[in-house]
């Protein structure tokens, strides 16, 4: 495994076909090659229907590819069983969705604690609580630990989701339009928060976005068109600036 080098992600000829074998089969990804290094802060852009979400789900082990190979953290995860994929998601990945997706029956603090509670791995509840609380403080929700999601604004809910994605200190956080339904000002603050965690903790982020303005602030921009990578270049402006 070590021979694969330090790449965080290595996709080779990844294909994804929906309804495979059926008359309405549709190939969404036509062989994607992609490499990502630890700590990268990358934007994934492209028109609607270009396969961005499918690629993100494949990278997030939420969907299995129909062809090609995928190495995550040096490990070939292409043929992982459902259980192995679940454990890899839990241990190595964090997710932030467009519609924040918190559990309404749990408080903000509990939502952040949930991933840790699934597999405590020797961590006591007290430590989980402290860690989750610390993250909520870090995203600026000092006063909202015990509020339910429906008592929080959209931006605040997305901050809770960020804290949840980070609670187990993953190597990579996958964000699907994390600012998609937020106003510009809130978007900027959420984006700044992601940038901050990337800098402070070295967490790699792959952010799907429609927002050219935000994409321009990333270190690298990958453009997906019709299920193929149309362009992939470093963004010197962002790297030097900010």
């Amino acid at each position: 495994m070590a021979s694969v080098g330090t790449s965080l992600i290595r996709l080779a000829g990844l294909r994804k076909t929906y309804n495979e074998g059926l008359p309405n089969a549709e190939e969404v990804l036509h062989g994607v090659d992609l490499e990502m290094q630890p700590g990268e802060f990358t934007a994934l852009i492209g028109p609607s229907g270009s396969g961005k979400s499918t690629l993100l789900n494949a990278l997030g082990l939420l969907e299995t590819a129909t062809g090609g190979s995928y190495r995550l953290g040096g490990q070939d995860v292409t043929k992982f069983s459902d259980n192995e994929r679940t454990l890899a998601r839990h241990d190595q990945l964090g997710f932030i969705f467009q519609f924040h997706h918190l559990l309404p029956a749990f408080s903000a603090l509990e939502n952040v604690m949930l991933p840790a509670l699934m597999r405590p791995q020797g961590i006591t509840e007290k430590i989980m609580r402290e860690r989750a609380g610390g993250l909520l403080d870090a995203v600026g929700l000092q006063d909202a630990h015990h509020k339910k999601p429906q008592e929080l604004s959209g931006g605040m809910q997305q901050r809770v989701a960020i804290a949840r994605a980070l609670v187990l200190a993953p190597q990579l956080v996958l964000a699907d339009e994390p600012t998609g339904n937020l106003d510009t000002q809130t978007s900027d603050s959420i984006f700044a928060l992601l940038r901050q965690f990337n800098r402070e903790r070295g967490t790699a982020l792959l952010i799907v976005t429609h927002d050219q303005r935000l994409a321009a602030q990333c270190d690298r921009i990958i453009e997906l068109v019709d299920g193929r990578i149309a362009s992939d270049h470093p963004n010197a402006v962002a790297g030097a600036g900010a």
Partner: protein, 408 residues
Amino acid sequence: MTALGFEWTVALRFLREGRMQTALIIGGAGIGVAVIFFITAVLTGVQSDLIRRVTGAQPHIIIKPPEETVAPLVTGDSDQPRLAAIQARPQRLTTIDGWPALARSAEATPGVLAVAPVASGAALGIKGDASRAIVLVGTELDRYLRVVRLDDKIKSGVLHLEPGDVLVGIELAKDLGAVLGDRFRIQSAQGGSDVFRIRALLDLGSKDLNRRYVYIDLRAAQSLLGIPGKITNLDVSVRELMSADIVAGRLRVQSGQLIESWIQNNNFIFTAISNQNIMTLLIKVFITIVVALGIASVLVVSVVQKRKEIGILRAVGATRRQMQSVFLLQGLVVGVCGALLGSGLGFLLIIIFSRVLRNAEGQALFSLDFDYSLVGIVVASAAVLGLLSAVLPARNAARLDPAQAIRG
């Protein structure tokens, strides 16, 4: 959030979140359990009242010598002249040969609780001008008490049988104008006669029995009936009242004697009770099915409602098995809560109706001190039922594709 662990925490939180649904289904399960509880208690009460009334002072099984029959003199060919009619022989007082061995083998028969030797026959009870036809039962009291519970039928006096002592029914005492401690004469059909002192008055469950049954010591009865050292029948009690016929069958094969069970002698009651039991079993089975379907359907709906949440949990690392457990546990909790609620409700029904429903003598039809282990059994079976009901919804939850669930 407590130290319950992930599955329990989420299961309980989901149930709490769907407050109305949860309350309704627990209520539904509770009513089902209450009805099962109630009909079980009522039926047990009614049936045991009926059986007590019918069996009263009778043993469950009686072993008698075979009846004496007249063998036709001429048999076979139709050419031969035949006897037009065979007159049945009058039945004399017959005895069982070698009864101690027979009693031992009967005692060893599976299902038999106890066996007691009895010398029984017709007699007259005479006091002054009054004389009454009676059934004389001579026995060894210690053994007999294990066959027929005379001890809970005592109205006054003590259970004690020396030669010269007698236990009589309350009606007979009244008819003879005798009270506890009085003496009266017993004269058997065989001509034996002696004076006995009343040691106890019994209520055997019906006027007829109270008017006729008289218990004396085995030896005294043997000498009155003119059968010293012999007995006329062995009285047997069984462990399981409703299986008396089966035990009787075993005894019949073994002994070659005439075996009569209480079921045979009261067939209509046995049939009625059996039918009643089948009907109530059916009702219970259907209630159980309805409760199970209710729990299952609420959980199926809950899985659909919580699609998105299940998807998120799966995405952030909950395994299929964990999601399955979350829903199985919800079934378990609903089942157990329903059973507890139902037991309480059932209890309430029993208390209320025990004041309303009375038997012919004005006593409560069923007793409140029924088997409390029933609650334990009901709760345990409801837990299993809840789990089983949740299997299908839990599988649906486990199979949910997280990517699809999150998408919409």
